[in-house]
Amino acid sequence: MTTAPFVKRAWKVGRAAYGTTFAITLIAGLGTALTFAVVLATIRPEDLIEEASRLPHLPLEVAYANFKALFIMLTAITVAVMAGAVAAMVVGGSIQSDSRNGVYEVLFGNGFAPGQLAKALFYTAMSAATAFYLLSVALTTLVIVLAAPEVWPILPAAALAALASVFSAAALILAVGLAKPQLFKIRTGVGATQNLAYLLALLPSMVLTFVIIPFLISLDVETATIVISAISAAVIVASIAAVLLAPRFLNKEELIAHGD
């Protein structure tokens, strides 16, 4: 019963506080998907002759099909990184602004239990993750339809990788927000701005992105699918564990500290 007001609040506050960043990130995601679609649509089997020559066991047509499949996988993960970033901003932005504005002090002081807060924010995180996961899958599907309709079989693995990216971003920002909210503080140095909370939340999806790149050279779709699926499953399990454990480490003192 108490979760609905939190979900509504997170979206309202998040949208108001970070509206421009949301918009820019979503436009970047759409732009990336369309760019990848254009690359896929324009590349020809003969463009891969040199690459296929390094892999004599692989006929050119198979190399071409594999390249397309792996490129779709990369598209799915890249778009999911951006979707995950936006989902993390909804949840993290809500925790950040509510902490800074003293909302948690009022809640805790008036009998709202930390466990209730963790539960409410979990639903908020899931609402953001679901919304932006569906958006990222829709964009990937759009790329497949537009540029590579023959690679449908790769979609389940791509969708799982996207799920791992978006879910881990939302789950980890929630875990960090409850247990170590001080990591939201922006540290600035010469030419560098650092926000450890968002960096940690996006780490799994960055790992997935870097893991797919060597397969674009080896053009081994089968191994890539197994590796990406295994990492994605591990990321999802680890994210669930982080979300379940976070309430135990909820840091009341930092959450009411009114810091940035």
Binding site: T2, A16, N101, V103, V106, G109, G111
Partner: protein, 275 residues
């Protein structure tokens, strides 16, 4: 046990007040804790029903004490009880010094959020008392400090609880609203503990006084126990005088005869405890 503790802590009300304490259901606040493992407050006191003023100079630990009692800060020791029975978190209301509102939200949305999450049994009364009807459609970020405080007060005043812990509830309010809020403190619940830096506010609203210094109570007792010696502030044109006296009426008459207008009469002892 209640009386022994009061005596140990230097309860200043005298024998008559100690005997009256037997007829009250006392509120016990017993807390210790602070920030990042550092002990800032170590205090235990019992007060009677109605309104208690928690006073002390800046940095004496009033806010930390209320935060510990409200369960906002992790405490090394925490007990809030009425006649031995623990006060559950749902029976306690807490108003922080400031905060609780997001500048991007509408006043209506913020109040609705807290009413849904915490409850709002007395929302109509609170909205009426604090004159918020015309502010409902405003963004919090556009409100003045005083208007924000009215919204923050409305969140807590909407709750029907047994114990109210209010940190500087009058901060930023205009004179008219201050009087309304002071009157409302008596209607809020059986136990209201509030902090203030204004002696005249204590005189107007409180029955009990807890003075804190260095995180420990330096005085716990009835306000009446502090009224032996008074401070009178009087004005004649641009000249303001402050005098201490044991006989308020005689001194006030003397000042009036000399052309002064008495502006404020407060307890000398209370002033000392607050500074």
């Amino acid at each position: 046990m209640a009386i022994r503790r009061l005596l140990q802590q230097g309860w200043g009300g005298g024998a008559k007040l100690i005997s009256t304490a037997f007829f009250f259901t006392m509120l016990l606040v017993d807390v210790a804790g602070g920030y990042k493992g550092r002990l800032v407050v170590d205090a235990a006191f019992e007060v009677g029903p109605r309104v208690t003023a928690l006073v002390g100079p800046n940095g004496s630990g009033k806010t930390t004490l209320l935060r510990l009692a409200a369960g906002v800060l992790p405490a090394a020791r925490r007990r809030v009880a009425v006649e031995g029975a623990e006060v559950r978190p749902g029976d306690l209301a807490y108003l922080p010094t400031s905060g609780g509102l997001d500048p991007h939200m509408l006043v209506r949305d913020e109040l609705e959020f807290y009413w849904q999450v915490l409850g709002g049994e007395r929302r109509d009364w609170a909205v009426e008392l604090l004159g918020l009807k015309e502010l409902m459609g405003e963004k919090v970020g556009r409100l003045s400090h005083g208007q924000r405080r009215r919204v923050e007060l409305a969140i807590v005043f909407s709750l029907k609880r047994r114990v109210y812990l209010l940190d500087e509830p009058l901060k930023g309010l205009d004179v008219q609203l201050k009087d309304a809020v002071l009157s409302a403190l008596r209607e809020l619940g059986p136990y209201v503990v509030f902090t203030t830096h204004e002696p005249e506010v204590v005189e107007k609203a409180a029955q009990w006084v807890v003075a804190v210094r260095g995180g420990r109570p330096s005085y716990v007792g009835a306000l009446a126990g502090l009224r032996k010696r008074a401070v009178i502030r009087a004005r004649r044109g641009g000249e303001v005088v402050t005098v201490e006296t044991d006989d308020v009426e005689a001194k006030a008459a003397e000042l009036a005869a000399a052309g002064y207008t008495v502006e404020e009469v407060s307890s000398a002892e209370l002033r000392r405890l607050m500074t």
